[in-house]
């Protein structure tokens, strides 16, 4: 009895301490540190100067950067819209299948993840290149005389983004279509509602949470996936992610990179706030 009492608080500490300490040390503190650095200056040799400065934030507003922000938002926007349009019928079809079919289709969506995304994007590069498979095919069939410039264009970057991120749209959409109460649709049909009417007034509103969750999970990463733009955009289609990467990788301007990151964090928080405001559940994000 006495022993039990002595150890009363122990299980709580043993279970909670590791995870709490890890998250505090490696998520909370690093992010706070990024915030601090974004207000620091930089010495001429590139090292961080420990004095308060607003110069990093002032540097964020210039014509070249504004163009990149706009471009990055545009790419993320198109990626999200195209992903919704492609995933919705797929998720709908999947939800209508038998249990085995559902599991198999789910596996088929997940399996490509097991090949590194860079390798798969490289596969696209092979397909889209000027001497690539697609151009070769079109030339052979005499549909075109000159190879088309497919690679290193904005559509190529969007294609790569949709390709890498589409599972994150399919899975939440599927979850919400699956939850749908089909008797509602039957009732609508019995009452004489046209198919598209029933879709617009019942199916779509009820699956909206899935669309929102998927959109968050596609739009936000699309702002940062610098490797997609590196591989398929060839330096002409930079994202906010590339801009941040360059500050840490090439220019060694950490304070400016930190300020850019803070902007990206602010955008993320704004979008997640918007998402919860329209009734989105934060638990529907992430675990794919």
């Amino acid at each position: 009895m006495k022993a039990k009492k002595r150890f009363k608080g122990l299980p709580k500490i043993v279970t909670l301490a590791p995870v709490s300490i890890w998250l505090l040390l490696l998520i909370a503190i690093p992010l706070i540190y990024i915030l601090v650095i974004s207000f620091l200056g930089r010495n001429s040799n590139g090292s961080i100067r420990y004095s308060f400065a607003l110069e990093n934030y002032q540097k964020l507003i210039n014509a070249q950067y504004l163009k990149i922000y706009a471009q990055s938002l545009l790419i993320a926007f198109f990626t999200t819209i195209i992903s919704i349009l492609l995933s919705y019928p797929f998720a709908y079809h999947m939800a209508g299948g038998s249990k085995t079919k559902k599991v198999i289709m789910m596996l088929l969506v997940i399996v490509p993840f097991w090949t590194n995304s860079l390798i798969r994007l490289y596969g696209w590069k092979t397909i889209l290149g000027s001497e690539g498979i697609l151009n070769g095919l079109l030339m052979k069939t005499h549909l075109i005389q000159q190879p088309l410039q497919l690679l290193f264009t904005m559509p190529a970057v969007i294609l790569g983004m949709v390709y890498t991120l589409i599972p994150f749209m399919i899975l939440p959409l599927y979850a919400s279509v699956e939850k749908l109460d089909h008797s509602l649709l039957e009732a609508a049909s019995d009452l004489g509602a046209k198919r598209y009417h029933a879709f617009l007034q019942i199916t779509l509103p009820l699956t909206l949470p899935g669309i929102f969750a998927g959109s968050i999970m596609v739009f936000i990463p699309a702002l940062g996936y610098f490797f997609v733009s590196d591989l398929l955009g060839g330096g002409n289609n930079m994202l906010i992610g590339n801009l941040i990467k360059n500050q840490f990788n090439i220019s060694q301007n950490w304070p400016l990179g930190a300020a850019l990151s803070i902007v990206l964090i602010a955008v993320t928080i704004l979008l997640v706030k918007l998402y919860t405001k329209v009734g989105g559940n934060i638990d529907d994000l992430g675990v794919a």
Partner: protein
């Protein structure tokens, strides 16, 4: 009339699903096909060969990078699964001051762009004067994996009847024995799904590794990233093909695990 319309919609659905799957697998087919290509350049198929599967082993950088990837994936999976599992139990069972903070921190790696976590870790490693290498890579991978393990285990714990634990303790089992013989077996499917998720995330990670890796701890994705811009040699295709076959085999072997992952995480959501 209504029947034919329904049929048309069904056929369209099927066709669309096939096209989407084709879209998902097309580049993988290309990668696999070119691993058997005679030519060094991944452009035209000139002839069939197994040459690259042998040559692959002579490419020491590639093999070393693959080894690093496996080390990092295994270590980070084990550490994140242990910390995440016991953490999930604690978070499920106990209320405490600051629980909200921990819950919020848990969501950060899930929603924030990976690049942010990557540079945040880079900056903190540099402040702590830790040289970038395998250790920093493992720490980084554990950091982004923990939340996913916690979420999957917690989902399993939600359907857990605490009276079973109480019964075991009333019968004289101590806490540790109760944990290993009662709690753990019940939550095991969640733990396995969490571990598989952590493994997948670690093997595929590009962005966070990019910032937390050192010159002598190149992982496979990093090695590929540096090659991909100029052109990948077919031995990379060969290795990727083998990895794909390997992972599919593991998936089939642990099929029950994968299927429970799917059932728990996606199919299970509708019960919520």
């Amino acid at each position: 009339m209504k029947k034919t319309k329904q049929k048309i919609i069904k056929t369209f659905g099927k066709l669309h699903a096939v096209l989407i799957l084709l879209f998902l697998y097309l580049p993988i087919f290309v990668v696999v096909a070119f691993s058997f290509n005679e030519s060094r350049r991944n452009i035209v198929f000139t002839g069939f060969t197994f040459e690259w599967y042998g040559k692959m082993f002579e490419n020491t950088r590639l093999i070393e990078a693959f080894g690093n990837t496996v080390i990092v994936a295994l270590c980070s999976t084990i550490i994140s699964t242990v910390i995440g599992t016991i953490g999930a139990i604690g978070l499920h069972k106990y209320k405490f001051k600051g629980k909200g903070i921990i819950d919020t921190l848990m969501y950060i790696p899930v929603v924030i762009p990976e690049i942010i976590l990557g540079i945040a870790l880079l900056v903190i490693f540099s402040a702590a004067q830790m040289p970038l290498g395998l250790l920093t890579l493992i720490i980084a991978h554990v950091t982004f994996s923990i939340p996913f393990v916690v979420f999957t285990v917690k989902a399993r714990l939600n359907g857990f009847d605490p009276s079973v634990e109480e019964a075991a303790m009333d019968l004289g089992a101590n806490r540790l024995r109760t944990f290993f013989e009662v709690t753990l077996p019940i939550i095991m499917p969640g733990v396995i799904s969490g571990a598989l998720l952590a493994l997948t995330l670690s093997m595929d990670d590009v962005i966070i590794s990019f910032f937390t890796t050192g010159p002598r701890s190149t992982t496979l994705p990093m090695q590929i990233y540096s090659m991909v811009r100029s052109g990948v040699s077919p031995d990379v295709n060969a290795l990727s093909t083998l990895i794909l076959i390997g992972t599919i085999t593991i998936a089939i072997l642990t099929q029950s695990g994968i299927i429970t992952t799917i059932k728990n995480n996606i199919l299970g959501r509708k019960q919520k």
